[in-house]
């Protein structure tokens, strides 16, 4: 991916890309699946950073990570080009991806161990506390877990979702429907998505300082009644 495109994606996500360029970027993304993938990754990493207290990484660390991950020399040259104004994602992109990979491994193990826990009937049980931990894991590509059975066939799921969607809020419905459109690949692949608790987020303990994202302590299991 060219540096220019990276810049464009980054600027777009920062709301700083002019309209004309946004349209060009859109066209490229529509044509280029690989580019879409990168775009998605940047967006996730960006949100992770914005939504948390940033802990600046030393440049050397970020650079080593970037090299390790995609073989590209990191931020330095780009920062120079932009008069020392680094884009949010660049120094940490590699780190976050690395953390994500680690998290997937952890998650896969957890998931296997927890599979029988799906029977838990109340969200306030200890079993579910494990589920809470998993729920907190985001910004990683969901781990494809061959062990997890695809229990809900896509066709029947679609029927349910359809019947449900008319009772959603305006935004909820749009989300649900565009989610269905986007799910095309997965449903084709396995006639139903595996039991994936939305994969992903890394409990802070699993990624100390790797990406500088500090996750808040898990909130209480359920809100106290007023």
């Amino acid at each position: 991916m060219s540096e220019q495109i990276r810049e464009q994606i980054s600027a777009f996500l920062d709301g700083e890309l002019p309209n004309s360029e946004s349209e060009l970027l859109l066209k490229r993304l529509t044509r280029d699946a690989e580019l879409r993938e990168s775009f998605g990754r940047y967006a996730l990493i960006g949100e992770a950073l914005r939504g948390s207290d940033r802990v600046p990484l030393t440049r050397g660390f970020a650079e080593r990570l970037n090299c390790a991950i995609d073989g590209e020399p990191a931020a330095a040259s780009v920062q120079a080009r932009h008069g020392g104004r680094p884009r949010w994602w660049r120094p940490v992109a590699g780190a976050a991806v690395a953390a994500g990979v680690a998290a997937m491994a952890v998650l896969a193990l957890q998931q296997r161990a927890d599979a029988p826990a799906m029977r838990a009937s109340s969200p306030v049980t200890a079993q579910n506390r494990a589920a809470v931990a998993k729920e907190a894991i985001s910004y990683t590509v969901p781990a494809a877990l061959p062990e997890a059975p695809a229990v809900l066939p896509a066709a029947r799921l679609t029927n349910y979702v359809f019947a449900h969607s008319q009772y959603s809020s305006v935004l909820g419905e749009r989300n649900v429907l565009s989610g269905l459109l986007a799910d095309a690949d997965e449903q084709q692949a396995g006639d139903g998505r595996a039991v994936n608790v939305p994969a992903a987020n890394v409990p802070a303990a699993n990624v100390p300082a790797a990406n500088g994202i500090r996750l808040p302590a898990p909130p209480a299991d359920s809100r106290a009644a007023p």
Binding site: L26, E47, A48, P123, E135, A136, N159, F162, A182, D185
Partner: protein, 347 residues
């Protein structure tokens, strides 16, 4: 104005102090009120304006490019949601029907709609009670798509619901960017517009699906006024996450099923969860003409659907499925609590 001042400052002091206190106390709720007003404007804009936009749908590190065209003409709403990334999937909705074109599955699914559907924001008026389970915030103005945008945060107060972060165009209140977040504020998925226009007129051709319907299988779901067997209608969630209450209890035939399922809708004022109760053992005894209805194994477990989850289980010999744009725990909680009010509880 100046008259009380001349009369003496001692009269003003308690007044000013009380005023300052009241001001401080109302600042927070005023922010929430402003946020609520903007959400109302957004709902209004989404429902009644014409718009044509292309957006990115980002979820789990994947991006899909989609186009939405929405037209209100002579009181009739038509909307088209189209995937631009190759699957060819489309939704087209008009006042009384939602049609889903799934060329990759050679299927067209038709779902009847009532005229007063969600387009008018029936469930999303962001009433005062929403404030009990979500906190609303108006953040400083930001820029999206080169436009100035109000940033609204709808934060869930517990883990039973998702929240939103919304960037609303200051001029039109259209959501230029929206994020679905969990209770920790972490983004689950987001929609970012790359292009959005609001034309006065939208030709029919822009709302016509690009999919060829030749050789496709049509599946028409039943209406929500179907009648389900009384045994099914006795089912209710016996326990609910805080704030959820029953808003609709009806029945609907799902897909090619032979018997309508009971359909319950629970809402906390913003998020909704549907519960379907089906006669598990009767699914195979389809009418003779419905040869394609095969006996189906009971569904059990959790699945991700779009931005939400579905959880299926079997209760007293009935298939129970809860679906909604809520966290996994919420659909699990509700599905597990479903019981027949008419039967004694199982040991």
């Amino acid at each position: 104005m100046s008259k009380p001042l001349r009369r003496g400052p001692q009269w003003l002091i308690p007044c000013a102090a009380a005023g300052a206190l009241a001001f401080a106390l109302t600042q927070q709720s005023r922010g929430a009120d402003d946020a609520r007003a903007w959400l109302e404007k957004m709902n209004q804009a989404l429902a009644v304006r014409n718009y044509d936009g292309t957006f990115f749908h980002l979820s789990d590190g994947r991006v899909e490019t989609m186009r939405i065209v929405h037209r209100v003409k002579a009181g009739r709403v038509t909307e088209r949601l189209q995937s631009l990334d190759g699957s060819g999937r489309e939704f087209v909705r008009n006042n009384d029907e939602l049609t889903c074109y799934l060329p990759d599955k050679h299927t067209i699914l038709v779902e009847p709609r009532q005229d007063h559907g969600p387009l008018l924001g029936s469930l999303a008026h962001f009433g005062a009670d929403v404030g009990e389970f979500y906190s609303l915030e108006l953040l400083p103005t930001a820029r999206v798509l080169g436009r100035s945008a109000k940033v609204i945060v709808v934060n869930p107060k517990d883990q039973f619901r998702f929240g939103y972060r919304l960037w609303l165009d200051e001029n039109t209140a259209m959501p230029l960017k929206s994020q679905l977040c969990d209770s920790r504020g972490q983004v689950i998925e987001q929609i970012v517009f790359a292009r959005l226009t609001m034309p006065d007129n939208i030709p029919d051709s822009e709302l016509t699906p690009a999919v060829s319907t030749e050789g496709m299988r049509w599946v028409r779901q039943g209406t929500s006024t179907d009648t389900a067997p009384p045994a099914l209608l006795a089912y209710r969630a016996s326990e609910l996450p805080p704030g959820f209450h029953l808003t609709v209890a009806g029945a609907q035939t799902l897909g090619a099923a032979s018997i309508p399922a009971a359909h319950l809708v629970y809402s906390d004022g913003l998020a909704t969860v549907s519960v379907f109760v089906e006669a598990q053992s009767d699914r195979k005894s389809g009418a003779a003409g419905q040869a394609q209805v095969e006996p189906e194994a009971p569904l059990q477990g959790l699945a991700r659907v779009g931005s939400g989850f579905a959880f299926s289980t079997v209760v007293q010999g009935h298939q129970v499925t809860a679906v909604g744009e809520v966290p996994a725990r919420t659909v699990e909680f509700i599905a597990h609590s479903v019981k027949s009010a008419g039967d004694p509880p199982h040991p």
